[in-house]
Each structure stands twice: as C-alpha cells, then as structure tokens.
Symmetry: C2
C-alpha cells in the first residue's frame, strides 16, 4: 500500500504521480495544504513541502528527489527496458541533470511562482500570506517559461526523449511542471512547435490520465488542458 | 584524472571537494566565475552553475546531486563502512532528505544570499549585476540561519551524525554550506552549542584541510574560520 500526500496542482507531486503511474502503482492520494503547516505532516517532512510518499516498510519519504531515487532502487531493475533512470552512468547523469533543471530551476523561475500566486494564495488566510496574486512574480514567470520551452525543443530536435533514446524521469518531471501551469493557461505553446509535439506525446500516455481529470475548487482549467489534440 | 570546476566559496563546490577528500580523490581545481557565463563552461553545464566534475570516461557531470550520486554508484561499494550514502533504504532516504535540506533549502534561505551579495557581487561588473551588497537580503539570511543551527542541534542530540550513526553526505553538505559563510563571519555559533560541537568534529577531518586554506582576493576570512578550537 502506497500513500501519497500531495496537492493536485503541486508540480513535484504530479511528477511522482506520473512516475507511480508508469510503474503501475496506484497510490492513495491524500490532499495536503502545506500552508496550514499541519503538525503530523511536519513530523513526516520538516521542510513542510509536498509530496511525501509513505510505504509501510520504509516510513515517510519526502521530496521528489528522494522518492524517485527510492523507487528506482526498489523497482527499477524489475522494469527492464521501461526503467525510468537509465542503466548506464552517462544516461543517469543526464537524467539527473534534467531532473534538477525542472524540479529546481524551472520551479524557482516559473512553476513555483505561478502555483503560489494563482493557486495557493487563493486558499491561504491573510495570516498564511494569502490574497491577490503578486502580478510582478506572475509576469516574470511568464517571461521565463519561453526559454525553457525553447530548451526542450532544442533537446528534442536531437533526441527521441529529453535525456536520450528512452522515456526517463526527465520527461515526467518536465511534463509535470508544464501540466500544472497549463491547467492555468500559462504555457505559450506557440513558442516552440517541437516542445509542443513532445508534450503531446507525454500527455497521451495512460499515466497522465488522472492528472487530466484533476479539478480544483474555484479554478476552471484552461480549455486546452485536457485536450490531447491541443 | 578528475577535474573540478568550482569557486572557492561556492558551498556546492565545497560539498563535492569534501566528498572527494573523504574518498581519497584529489581533483585538479579550476576556478570558474559563473557570472562571466563562459561559453565552454555553459556547454558543460547549461544551467551555468558550479560545481562541474569531469572524469575522462564519463564526461562532464554538473551539480552536487548528480555528482554525489555518480560517486556513490562508481565508488560507494568500495568504501565499505566509510560509504557516504548508507546501504539501507531508510538511511538513504534520510541522507537524501538532508542533502536537499542543505543544498536547496539552506542555500535558498541563507548561503546563496550571503555568497551572492558579499562575494560574487564584488567581482561582477555592473552589467553582470555587481555592486554593493543588498543588505536586506543579507539581514534575511542572517535571521534564517538561526533556526537551521537549532535544527542541526536538534538532530545531533538524538544521533551521532546528522543522518544517523555514521558520517554521510548530509554532514558534508551541511558543513560545506556553513563553512562558506563562516569564512564571512556570519555564523552565530552561540545559537546552538550542540551544532557547534558537531561542526568542530567535521571541521577537524583531514578532508576539510584544503577548504581551510582557501583564500579569496580582497576578503579576509573571519578569525575563527580556520581555528579548530573556535
């Protein structure tokens, strides 16, 4: 049994949901509003962030990096050529480099700002830092996303998937972050046609279906969000 | 032969220098001023950050996470009970959780601000964003560091080392970040006596010696920086 403490629009949680989907693991999803700083949640993850995965044998595992490494160590070899962290050292380096790129850099420059300003702040009290979105942060994120889309396009013009010949954690992380902000209608897909075609490929995988069905009270997903032919 | 592109006060570079020291690997150190955005360096690491490690067989490996995972995968088993990423799944989760804590959270809240404002900006041209330190950022970092010291103290009061019984990557990452800002005299050691005692233990390891000998033009290290009995 696998529990996943998550938020529907948290990009790091979405990355782990995609990974679990690709591995054929169906977690029990428990929605966590991290800004409420629930005591029992902070015991599991003192950093106070989603996702946290709990498996009976291993106790709580916090954060997209530790969870994805744990899943590769416990399930990776059994996946054969569907393994999401490649077998060879060079492929592992490239996959982890891009994991950092999306989970840290893209989050700091794009998805973190947009989800905080346009989603979390709507559900926070004033004491928790809630209120109207800071439009400066939103504008910076909307400007930054363009070079990231071009970078995805650049990589895909010389490779089948982001880190090489096969689908890896890198594709799932990139698609997870993009999907959160695509929900909000903030991805300028016209910026790079190759990036858009790559995203359509990831989006049409069965592991993506539960993400496309997500709903958040008070926020209407963008018309292209669940459209496989956007 | 191992090359390491680094900056003497970059905390992520210092983490890898400590790891290499513990493994008995002596890298050729090449100083990189990332704000110059040197073309050949950006080819090795498009994110434009230090450290980047180069080994002939593997090509460039960028970032503290990918480098430390690579070193564990290629050297870890040979280290026996001096392995820096524990063998057991629970120990690996805890070590990686704390690696993220220091390399991402502590860097974002403390060491990144202080090194950028007080060190890098001194060597940047005006076009590169150089100039006087933003004292608001410095003040925030100096306030944030206090709870991190108390968190280290809290962990060490129930464990021998940060992630458990043995020295791990977690201790080396935490000590690396603290050492960069200790150079600047910005660690309020009186905040937590247990944290200070733990740091003295890490600081007296042979792997720490080259860090204590570092000098940076125009910046005088704090009087306690190289003192093992501070």
């Amino acid at each position: 049994m696998t529990d996943l403490y998550h938020h529907p629009l948290c990009p790091h949680s979405r990355f782990i949901r995609l990974v679990l989907g690709e591995m054929g693991i169906e977690p029990d999803l428990i929605e966590e509003r991290v800004f409420e700083r629930r005591r029992d949640f902070l015991v599991m993850n003192p950093a106070g962030t989603t996702p946290v995965m709990v498996e009976h044998e291993a106790g709580p595992i916090p954060g997209p990096g530790p969870i994805s490494e744990y899943l590769d160590e416990t399930r990776g070899l059994g996946l054969g050529d569907r393994r999401l962290l490649p077998d060879d050292p060079v492929g592992r380096v490239e996959t982890r480099r891009l994991l950092d790129w999306f989970n840290a850099k893209f989050f700091a420059e794009v998805s973190g700002h947009l989800i905080t300003e346009k989603v979390y702040k709507r559900f926070m009290t004033q004491d928790q830092g809630g209120g109207a979105p800071d439009m400066d942060a939103v504008r910076v994120a909307r400007a930054n996303i363009r070079y990231h889309l071009r970078y995805i396009g650049f990589l895909i013009r010389s490779r089948n998937w982001l880190a090489g010949d096969r689908l890896t954690y890198a594709d799932l992380a990139a698609a997870a972050h993009l999907s959160s902000i695509d929900f909000l209608g903030d991805v300028p897909w016209a910026e790079d046609e190759t990036a858009k075609t790559w995203y359509a490929r990831v989006k049409s995988r069965p592991s993506f279906r539960t993400l496309l069905a997500d709903r958040v009270p008070g926020i209407i997903p963008s018309p292209v969000y669940a459209d496989l032919d956007f």
